[in-house]
Amino acid sequence: MNYRTLLFIPGNNPGMLQSSDILGADGVIIDLEDAVALPEKDAARILVREYLSTFKSKTAKFIRINPLDSPYFYDDLEAIKDLNITGIVLPKAGVESMSKLEEYMNENNLDLDVIPLVETAIGLETALDIVLISDRIIGLFLGAEDLTLDLGAKRTKESKEIEYARSRIIAASKAKGIQAFDTPFTDTDDIEGLKIDTKNAKDLGMTGKTVISPRHVEEINKMFSPTVAEIDYALRVVEGVKAANEKGLGAFSLEGKMIDAPIIKRALNLLRMSGDYKEEYDELLK
């Protein structure tokens, strides 16, 4: 499953939890960490358990637990280990915390996906090491707010200060063949700003974006969905490959442009995202 949007839902908000599956996001991240004040941690765990055992829906559900350096890390894991969820978001991810989480999941035989949230300088610089710890990891998530705090950088709407971080997360993710999730855009009213920010992230190579406002979901979904023109082009590439293979050609040109393996791979990825991928395409690059 490729997630274009992962929407944060506060774990202590019954109204939001109840409606979380109808807000259009590909997946939701039920938050037990920052959205929940310290005195409410226990109540939130109980509420989330009640919600997940009462409401059934097809939307992918991740839970952001509290970090390893908090007193709640293992309490959270104990509370959610038997729930029917898709996976876990690990905040302040680093080699140590990811290793501890992997250890816990192995001990408890948990078949859950993991998304490490990279939001510290050390996490960023060891991003590749983190993703190599576990095959449960399906994507890396850049948390720019905490990261810029750690870096002593000024957080701006233009996001120049996180270009390196974005690229580093993208590179580590692509190296492992997993998704790269961009940081949320925090101005809930600025839809134009959201579009620019999402485009910047997508152009760098992000494959999805985390979201803190349901109002952002539709726009981001749209931007991470292939356009009709992109799908048409990818299908033409595929047809070109088929024809070239039949003729025994290694490379070929389409509309005046040389088509080689990276372009073919990109076309196939795009068709996977759009739902137009066919099994027969598996053979094309062999």
């Binding site: 109840q18 409606s19 109808i22 807000l23 259009g24 009462t54 409401f55 809930t188 406002s213 349901p214 109002r215 539709e218």
Partner: protein
């Protein structure tokens, strides 16, 4: 004009020179004292007096006049007010002492509504629609003795304008029938302006007296600064799905006519519709009803060629009414009187709310989940009946109470005129509208049987407890044509 039947005109009396009329004089209509006015009107017990609600929760005219009537010891008044708001709780003592015996209105909320639900009105309450009110007055089902017309501005001869004066409220559409039919018409103003006061909503030829008082109300209660689209994600989801429903009806094309309310979800629908019309280059015919800045903006963008305005909801609407000739005043009768040609009959789509809806698509916007009066039809039943497609937009739960019932507490709008329900968990179509079911299926919309949606909601929230009533009927829900569609019962305290 009996002369026309007179075969011999020589028998008709002609005035003598001494009997010839003198030059006419402008009538002196101004009076500066409420007490003097009421004394002069010589109201009797059981009189019928009327008020409009364009000053909404900022109105102080109704309270001022009714208290004066009370002080004169007049009893058994039938109060015909187009709507009553929380500010009118001041007249609760007048129910108890018998000054007010019956109430006829189209909307009632606040403590006055509670008092009536708990049985404090000695007579009856009749809940009408806006169009039905105009019909009943113009057809003289209701005969008004005195209409007190709160006037944001008036000249001394009674030209009343809703757009002039510091307490401007916009159009005065709901007061037109009263001004035409009441035996006596009083303009009540706190802004006496130079003659002639134009544009006039009600002209001097209909007005008998002009009462000047210190204040007709509080501006902040009359209109909101600017009405705003909801930011609630569930409301926005419902609005988005409503746009899909509207698209699937096939009515979103040139010549579209549209009405929606000023509630958050309705405004969001209007906002999405605007984007859709721009994107698809659609030029609508008219939008109608209570008018907001969103609709005046669409008028200025050329998305609608005109607005029919029975009530201005915000300051932007008032400003537009003042300067844009395509922003047209309409009376309650032109809006929804079922006996005549009215705007609602030309509506393509109307977006409406609901407190409750039942499995037969009957809608209640009259009473709340506790059975206490907290609203009324307004134009709900009028527009549902007249429009090609009436769409109810609502959340499936409100404060943990499911929206869909086996039977609504009070039927405001009969299910036979309600076509579609849009909630965050699915779209229900009235089985009577097989044409819509067909179109929606083609459009791949998520259609759910209303009974299944009710069951889904009850599985999560449980069934609401039945409302405790005393069994005494305290009023009637009157349909727009004057027929009765439901009883209103006293609620146990």
């Amino acid at each position: 004009m009996n002369y026309l039947n007179n075969t011999d005109l020589s028998t008709v009396k002609v005035l003598n020179k001494s009997e010839f009329p003198s030059k006419s004089k402008a009538k002196d209509k101004v009076i500066n004292s409420v007490e003097e006015l009421i004394k002069g009107l010589d109201l009797k017990d059981n009189a019928v007096v009327s008020f409009h609600h364009h000053l909404r929760n900022g109105d102080s005219v109704l309270n001022t006049i009714m208290k004066e009537i009370q002080s004169k010891g007049i009893k058994g008044i039938t109060l015909v007010a187009s709507s009553l708001f929380p500010v009118h709780a001041e007249i609760i003592p007048l129910l108890k002492d018998g000054t007010i015996e019956n109430i006829v209105t189209s909307y009632i909320s606040g403590d006055l509504a509670k008092a009536i639900s708990y049985g404090e009105l000695k007579g009856k309450i009749i809940m009408q629609t806006h169009g039905g009110r105009a019909r009943s007055i113009l057809d003289e089902d209701i005969v008004i003795d005195v209409a007190f017309i709160a006037s944001p501005s008036s000249d001394k001869f009674g030209n009343i304008s809703g757009v002039n004066g510091h307490n401007s409220c916009g159009t005065l559409g709901y007061a037109i029938a009263d001004s035409i039919k009441a035996k006596t018409v009083i303009s009540v103003t706190d802004a006496l302006v130079e003659y002639p006061n134009y544009p006039a909503d009600i002209t001097e030829d209909y007005v008998d007296q002009v009462l000047v008082i210190d204040s007709i109300g509080r501006k902040e209660g009359i209109v909101s600064g600017t009405t705003r689209v909801t930011k609630d994600p569930i409301g926005l989801k419902i609005a988005k799905d409503t746009l899909k429903v509207m698209e699937a009806t096939g009515l979103l094309k040139d010549g579209l006519s549209f009405q929606s309310g000023a509630g958050g979800i309705s405004l969001a629908v209007t906002d999405y519709l605007r984007d859709y019309m721009i994107e698809n280059n659609i030029k609508g015919s008219f939008a109608s009803g209570g008018i907001t800045g969103y609709l005046t903006g669409m008028l200025e963008e050329g998305l609608f060629s005109s607005l029919f305005d029975v009530q201005c909801f915000d300051l932007e609407a008032i400003e537009s009414l003042k300067r844009n000739p395509n922003h047209i005043r309409m009376s309650g009768s032109q809006y929804g009187n079922p006996r005549v040609s009215s705007v609602v009959d030309n509506l393509d789509i109307v977006i409406l709310g609901a407190t409750e809806i039942d499995v037969d698509f009957n809608v209640n916007v009259t009473s709340g989940a506790d059975g206490v009066l907290m609203g009324g039809s307004g134009g709900h039943a009028d527009t549902a009946a007249g429009s090609k497609v009436s769409i109810i937009v609502s959340k499936l739960f409100s404060s943990r109470i499911p929206l869909i019932k086996d039977r609504v507490d009070v039927i405001t709008t009969p299910g036979t005129t309600v076509d579609v329900l849009v909630t965050e968990r699915g779209i229900c179509v009235n089985p009577l509208r097989t044409d819509l079911i067909e179109s929606f299926k083609k459009a791949n919309l998520n259609i759910i049987d209303i009974k299944d949606l009710k069951e889904y909601a009850e599985n999560i929230m449980g069934k609401a407890k039945p409302i405790e009533k005393t069994g005494r009927i305290i009023g009637l829900s009157e349909y727009r044509d004057g027929s009765i569609i439901d009883y209103i019962y006293e609620v146990k305290k």
